[in-house]
Amino acid sequence: MNNESHDQIRPLSDRKTSDRSMILLLVGCLLLTPPLAGIFQLDIRILGIPFTGFYLFAVWAGLIAGAAALARRIQKSADWDNPEDTQHQQDMDSTD
């Protein structure tokens, strides 16, 4: 709800980026908690490391990489709404 008007003044690509951050969050939640995580509790080793540990750290690293990519996109997007940019946003509102 709160983002409704906000979304309207943001370009589509930016909205997609924030939607992707939600997807990343959901993927993280699913992969790191049971029941899905239970699939990866296996009794094998990779490079001598127990698989589950390897799996958890790999997912974690993946999430960090994803978040970094999204953060770059969001920071690049022109109309980041910050209190400092309120004037800018107001301009957009009035022309909306």
Binding site: N2, H6, S21, M22, P34, Q41, L56, L63, I64, P83
Partner: protein, 889 residues
């Protein structure tokens, strides 16, 4: 063995370094030279105050006992930061717009600036933080003890606590504006964050590559149970711990302080969204190897919580041990300092200030400097908070209860979550709901987790723990209402947070929100819609600018207050003097004050000075909805102007039609009165003659009476027709339809007119299809139409030898009955008007009817689902065509 002297020297040197750094940065920042301190990296490092000594030492301990489970404590915050766009960003925005000073301030401000709520949250935060501080003191003293052997625990703890309190007071309360960043503190904890990460990584690298000889060999000959814990690690406890740590990164007072209150730029969150998880990743990377190495190389019975320290010690790497000690020291001190600042702000703003306001009540004209009170109260509060932690450590130090306090505190602060999330996403949340939820959750937390953690020594006896309160098994603290078989932590989370959320929501929906509660709810929930300077026009009242200035002076100090008022006057277009106490100005002032003393206290002060009355509900709702309405209005304006043009066109058209109808009605009325007038006139005049019988003969009398009789009949017929007409038009005439054989009706109509036909010597020609055709019609009414058509043809026929032909033929679904005659037809120019009321063709030189016949006939035909039209044949002769629906099937 490291010597005590060396350890103390390094320790003191490190602390001196931190003090110097904080001092230097503070000074540079005040001169405006420390932009770098406001970088996103420093912001991220300051968030890492999450990693306390409980992480630094405790994570390895936990890994040694329960395997990979320790990782959940860092996965939760990772998830929260990855989803920063949805929650943290909103919290930070609200924090900025409303100048929030603490989590208690946020909750109180959201729920109508309620001071009682602020007090409750403050006390809860204090209760959850005190043992946590004690835990830090314990870990520092224990690590000290591990290096130098037997020491005076009380003394060393006291020294450490005193040092931390001093640091927090020196650099945490330089300025009364709690909303302002504490640059010195931030710089120090950023350095400490680097130290603790470096220390843990160094120990980890040493263990993996120096001791074990490679990544793979660390895990050689290690039973999987050590890594996975006993059995399935992905169980309810795993989920609970992940959830709790996610909650803690939002709700812990110190986390709220560094993430929300001290944030200078929302953009920093974007960097922290991946950098902070990366930091946690680094902190966790070597935890498992260190734990395994500790289990392998250290003697059985060694405290796993100190492996990070004792492992390098036992392997003869005193330099690493020293670094590890500094890492642990850093973790502990940064936590205590930030927590003390955060909690003392709450205690000072929500407990001390309201009390002193109350005590000063009645003599606030005396120009006492509230700033002094504020600063003093905050300093005393810091000392008190750290002192409480020290006391707690003294009372329960060394017990296992303290080691478990980290998670217990997590569950305690998690009780803020329903009110916090509900407050910023749900307009319907009310103060009563938040209060009820918080108190219930907190009571359940204390009963099911906090008090049992003392193992029966505090308040709840061992007997109550095993047999339940009053001996009732249903009230066993760790198996409440028979919910047994769960881990005590999971059990406590289910009960306390579950019931908390439920009570919060139920009471919210049942209770009425106060006007201010509603307004704040709208401002918080819609923080991205409402621009900060817009949500201001509320709360009417008469305030005195001078009183407000005095108030501002007392809280902000003379110079800042003057600057603020000058800028406000400037904004109002005044070149000198005090600004007008407009609503906007008062609200702006209240916000600035809120940054110093919290929303509830600021509101109370301003209300007292401005002397405002109560605010009406409608006014508040109006204001809260105003921005929303404005935006919608501007969006709709363009749509509406188009729509308006369309509508005005439609209206014009409708108006024209109405006028035409009006004209027709007038015409109709004048015609009706004209038609009625003719027979009435003759009736009247003949009656007048008859009233003087001596002048008329009996023959004349008889003739006159028959004229009157005929005229009355005509009048009756006319009225009947008008009545029929109006009923037809109103759709009131009942006309049951049935299947009628068309030829039979035509024959019947001709039979009825037999007399007239003979009299005028008319020849009737009938043409019809071979098979009898059935139509859907009302027999009497259909006959009425045909009689009307045929009699018209007879009456108006001017031919010497009148011939009328009636033919019927099927055409698709309908039957056409055409009535033609050789009497001159209808002129084309008359065709359009022939069905109008009172219209008569050019042939009607002899008036027989009112001119309603055709229009009635047509109305009847249409009512039966057919039509009556005037058609023109190829040879330009005209005829009437009655169309009726044929019987289906």
């Amino acid at each position: 063995m490291l010597s005590i002297d060396l350890l103390l020297a390094v320790c003191l040197g490190y602390v001196a370094l931190l003090f110097a750094l904080a001092f230097y940065v503070d000074r540079r920042a005040r001169q405006g030279h420390a932009r770098w301190i406001q970088s996103p990296i420093v912001f991220t490092l300051s968030i890492s105050v999450y990693c306390t000594s409980w992480t630094f030492y405790g994570a390895v301990g936990s890994a040694a006992r329960n395997g990979l489970e320790f990782i959940t404590i860092y996965l939760g915050p990772t998830l929260v930061f990855i989803g920063w766009w949805w929650l943290l960003r909103k919290l930070v925005r609200i924090g900025k717009v409303h100048r929030i000073t603490s989590i208690a301030d946020l909750i109180s401000s959201r729920y109508g600036k309620s001071s009682s709520l602020a007090v409750v949250v403050t006390l809860m935060a204090l209760m959850a933080t005190t043992p946590y501080i004690a835990l830090q003191l314990q870990s520092v003293t224990r690590s000290y003890q591990a290096i130098v052997g037997e020491v005076d625990l009380t003394l060393s703890a006291l020294v450490i606590a005193g040092g931390m309190a001093l640091f927090a007071i020196l650099f945490g309360t330089r300025n009364v504006d709690a909303n302002e960043r504490h640059h010195g503190v931030v710089a120090a904890i950023a350095v400490e964050a680097v130290v603790k990460l470096a220390a843990l990584l160094a120990v980890g690298l040493f263990v993996v590559f120096g001791v074990a000889g490679g990544v793979g060999s660390v895990f050689e000959n290690i039973d999987t149970d050590v890594i996975y814990g006993a059995g399935n690690i992905f169980d309810a406890r795993w989920v609970t711990l992940t959830f709790l740590s996610a909650t803690a990164i939002i709700c812990l007072p110190r986390q709220f302080q560094v993430t929300v209150v001290e944030n200078v730029d929302e953009r920093h969150l974007a960097t922290a969204s991946w950098l902070f998880p990366l930091y946690l990743f680094g902190m966790c990377l070597f935890v498992m190897p260190i734990a395994i190495a500790g289990l392998k190389f250290l003697p059985e019975g060694a405290n796993p919580d100190l492996y990070v320290l004792t492992l390098p010690l036992s392997l003869g790497r005193e330099d690493l041990a020293l670094l590890a000690f500094l890492g642990g020291f850093s973790s502990a001190t940064s936590m205590v300092i930030v927590a003390a600042i955060a909690v003392s702000t709450m205690v000072s703003n929500h407990i001390v200030v309201p009390i002193s306001l109350y005590l000063l009540h009645g003599r606030h004209e005396v120009s006492g400097d509230v700033r002094k009170i504020l600063l003093t109260s905050r300093r005393v509060s810091i000392a008190a908070v750290v002192g409480l932690g020290f006391l707690y450590f003294q009372v329960s130090g060394g017990s296992d209860a303290l080691a478990a306090i980290g998670l217990i505190a997590f569950v305690g602060v998690a009780q803020f979550l329903p009110s916090l999330l509900g407050g910023i996403f749900w307009r319907g949340a009310t103060r009563n709901g938040a209060m009820a939820g918080l108190l219930t959750g907190f009571a359940l937390w204390a009963y099911t987790l906090f008090l049992p953690s003392f193992g029966g020594s505090v308040i709840l006896s061992a007997d109550i723990l095993t047999n339940g309160l009053f001996g009732l098994a249903a009230l066993r603290p760790q198996a409440l209402f028979g919910l047994a078989g769960y881990d005590p932590l999971v059990h406590a989370v289910i009960w306390s947070l579950g019931v908390n959320t439920l009570v919060f929501m139920v009471v919210s929906t049942l209770s009425e929100a106060s006007p201010l509660d509603r307004l704040q709810g709208a401002l918080f929930v819609d923080v991205f819609r409402i621009r900060s300077n817009e949500a201001t026009r509320f709360e009417p009242g008469q305030a005195n600018a001078e009183d407000l200035f005095v108030l501002a002076q007392r809280i902000l100090g003379t110079e800042p207050a003057r600057k603020l008022f000058d800028s406000m006057a400037h904004e109002q277009g005044l070149s000198s003097g005090l600004p007008w106490p407009t609503d906007a100005m008062i609200v702006q002032l209240e916000r600035v004050l809120a940054g110093n003393v919290g929303a509830a206290s600021a509101h109370a002060m301003v209300v007292r000075v401005a002397g405002r009355g109560s605010i009406s509900m409608t006014e508040l709702i109006d204001i809260a909805d105003e921005t929303q309405r404005l935006m919608e209005a501007s969006r709709e304006l363009s749509n509406k102007s188009n729509e308006l043009t369309k509508i005005s066109n439609q209206l014009r058209k409708a108006n024209q039609q109405l006028r035409q109808l009006d004209l027709q009605k007038d015409e109709f009325l004048s015609q009706v009165s004209h038609e009625l007038r003719t027979p009435m006139t003759s009736i009247r005049s003949f009656s007048e003659i008859l009233l003087s019988p001596e002048t008329v003969t009996e023959d004349e009398q008889h003739r006159f009476i028959s004229i009157i009789y005929e005229e009355s009949q005509r009048l009756t017929r006319l009225l009947d027709e008008i009545l029929d007409m109006s009923r037809l038009e109103a759709g009131l005439l009942e006309m049951p339809l049935s299947n009628v054989e068309a030829d039979a009706v035509i024959d019947a109509a001709i039979d009825t007119l037999d007399g007239l036909i003979r009299k005028k010597d008319v020849r009737i020609e009938l043409q019809s299809s071979a098979d009898p055709v059935c139509v859907l019609a009302n027999e009497d009414r259909m006959q009425q139409i045909l009689i009307n058509l045929i009699s018209n043809s007879i009456k108006y026929n001017t031919s010497e030898q009148p011939v009328i032909s009636i033919r019927s033929e099927s055409s698709g679904d309908s039957l056409h009955i055409d009535v033609l005659d050789n009497g001159g037809g209808v002129k084309r120019e008359e065709a359009a008007a022939i069905f109008d009321k009172f219209s008569r063709g050019h042939r009607s030189n002899l008036d027989h009817g009112a001119g309603l016949g055709l229009s009635i006939s047509r109305a009847i035909a249409r009512n039966m689902g057919g039509d009556l039209t005037l058609e023109f044949a190829a040879d330009k002769t005209s005829f009437f065509r009655l169309r009726l629906a044929q019987k289906q099937g």
